[in-house]
């Protein structure tokens, strides 16, 4: 099978007063038409990995990689103008908090239409029709009303559905979701995940799901990369995440309090300095055979 996305030897560095800080260190992974989870704690480099696929690393950050290929096309060789066409059109990104991603003074419908018309040559009427359909697709009951509403009138869960609608309307091949449900309540979280799951499957898209929540990732993804200090320390099938072997992954799993298994004291993760220097595990699919 051909991979949608291939990332080889990605390193992201930021200059600081005490020398270079490597936020992501020499990682390689690939994405097929699957749901790939990237888990790790804050500062593990998971979000930066997501952003570097779109080449959204702000200066003075430095992005280095042998190759970041979207269906064989190297994104590193693209000009900034060509990249702008890829962002949103071929690869979309959903951020954690819809409050900061939606323009507060524009009607929701106009924002979705704009996202669509930016990449597809469509008349206003077509864009409107398509937008309403998209709002229906994210299970919004009254799409006409939401179309004419402003972002502040929406709850967090609704806002995130709208973001998903907006990101999926140009029909991208890859969706990068950076903690899309962390700001939501558990019951709402489930709904939003189900919507995202259904759409990604139906459209045969690739999904990169970035999260700190091991449970969500293991329930929702096909394959998982576990990141620590800028490296991939382990990769496994998502449903086997609870059998993960790396002490870091194990430590994370054990430190979660569980309703069904009460303990007096939670296990505390003992960090090993060797994890920081150990070479990155490859997350490419070819490595499997």
């Amino acid at each position: 099978m051909t991979n949608l996305l291939e990332v080889e030897n990605l390193t992201v560095k930021f200059p600081t007063r005490n020398g270079m800080f490597e936020a992501v260190r020499d990682i390689s992974f690939s994405l097929g038409r699957e749901r790939l989870g990237i888990v790790g704690e804050s500062g593990s480099g998971k979000s930066i990995t997501g952003r570097s696929i779109l080449r959204l690393i702000r200066r003075p950050g430095i992005l280095e990689a042998t190759r970041i290929a979207l269906e064989g096309e190297d994104l590193l060789k693209k000009s900034e103008r060509e990249m702008r066409k890829i962002r949103g059109h071929k690869i979309s990104m959903v951020m954690q908090d819809p409050k900061f991603s939606l323009n507060p003074v524009m009607r929701i419908g106009d924002q979705i239409c704009e996202a669509y018309r930016l990449h597809a040559k469509a008349s206003k009427a077509e864009a409107r029709e398509k937008s309403i359909k998209m709002l229906e697709a994210v299970l919004i009951r009254d799409p006409e009303r939401v179309f004419n509403a402003y972002p502040h009138e929406m709850s967090g869960g609704m806002g995130q559905r709208i973001m998903i609608a907006m990101m999926l309307i140009p029909d991208p091949q890859i969706l990068i979701a950076d903690e899309p449900t962390s700001a939501l309540d558990v019951t709402v979280q489930k709904e939003v995940l189900e919507i995202m799951d259904k759409l990604v499957r139906e459209r045969g898209m690739g999904l990169i799901f970035i999260s700190h929540d091991l449970n969500v990732v293991s329930a929702f993804c096909d394959r998982v990369l576990i990141m620590y200090a800028g490296r991939i320390v382990e990769t496994c099938q998502a449903d086997k995440l609870h059998e993960a072997k790396h002490p870091y992954t194990r430590g994370l799993l054990n430190s979660l309090p569980q309703l069904e298994h009460p303990v007096d004291r939670l296990a505390v993760l003992q960090r090993d300095d060797a994890w920081q220097t150990a070479p990155s595990v490859s997350g490419t699919l070819e490595a499997d055979h």
């Binding site: 704690e41 804050s42 967090g156 309540d185 558990v186 019951t187 709402v188 979280q189 489930k190 700190h212 091991l214 449970n215 969500v216 293991s218 329930a219 998502a238 449903d239 995440l241 609870h242 430590g251 994370l252 430190s255 979660l256 309090p257 569980q258 309703l259 069904e260 009460p262 303990v263 007096d264 004291r265 939670l266 296990a267 505390v268 993760l269």
Partner: protein
């Protein structure tokens, strides 16, 4: 009501609202529960359920409320005095927002001691840093030089340095990584045992509350829909439909895996 009152916090018919007249929004409606002295009680609910508002009403940060609030058997009035603050302290949700950006750890702790007239500030600061598991090298750091978990330890130290008997915990670990969450929860468990503290904890995470508390109240849309023992909760013996839904949502994710 009961005269032989050995409760740490007792709340009767508590209503809390924001705004007046037509714009009035009721955040808490007719809440009632009590936390025994030395006990630990959890308030669970989703955002907007009013769980944090109850803490704010107790501390006086939400001034518009009616009903009765008793702390150590004493009914609270509209204003809080120093005696109240030396009994009840609070740890906030976001350690990145609860420490003054221009004040060192030492400054924060010294001020707490100064306000409550404690002697020997140096010894006390050294000791509390030890107690919350912070090395002395952090004493003169600014918040931006600390990690999230370290900041939350400072916030806990700030609350405990004046030796209160009741600690209000407003989602103390929801902004932290799971491994750090485990450390902070363990710390809170230890501190409660050592100092015989009473905890009133607010969280959206049933697993966290289940770990920390012996009794919980489930809140939805401003009302307490059910008060149940954690043992019953673990056995999924909830009566209320909303509680069941919440329980299922938090357990299901793991089961699906």
């Amino acid at each position: 009501m009961t005269s032989n009152d050995n409760s740490g916090i007792r709340i009767n018919n508590l209503d809390v609202w924001f705004g007046d007249h037509e714009e009035r929004v009721d955040a808490v409606i007719d809440a009632e529960f009590s936390v025994p002295l030395g006990g630990s009680f959890g308030l669970v609910g989703e955002s907007g359920s009013g769980k944090s508002t109850i803490l704010r009403a107790i501390t006086g940060l939400a001034p518009t409320w009616s009903g009765e609030i008793f702390v150590l058997g004493k009914e609270l009035g509209k204003t809080r005095d120093k005696e109240f603050f030396s009994t009840v302290q609070m740890v906030f949700q976001d350690p990145y927002a609860s420490l003054h950006p221009r004040q060192t750890v030492d400054h924060v702790l010294s001020e707490a001691l100064y306000l409550h007239g404690f002697d020997q500030p140096d010894n006390r600061i050294v000791k509390i840093l030890d107690d919350v598991g912070l090395s002395q090298i952090f004493r003169f750091r600014y918040p931006h030089q600390l990690s999230g978990g370290q900041r939350q330890r400072v916030a806990i130290a700030r609350a405990l340095i004046i030796e209160p008997s009741i600690l209000l915990l407003d989602e103390p670990t929801s902004a932290l990584d799971v491994s750090v969450q485990a450390e902070i929860l363990n710390l809170l468990t230890d501190l409660r045992a050592e100092r015989n503290l009473t905890y009133l904890m607010v969280s959206h995470d049933l697993a966290v509350v289940g770990h920390m508390c012996s009794k919980i109240a489930v809140m939805n849309l401003g009302r307490i829909v059910e008060v149940l023992d954690v043992k019953d909760m673990r056995k999924m013996k909830a009566e209320n439909a909303y509680t069941k839904q919440l329980l299922e949502a938090s357990i299901q994710r793991r089961r699906e895996a």
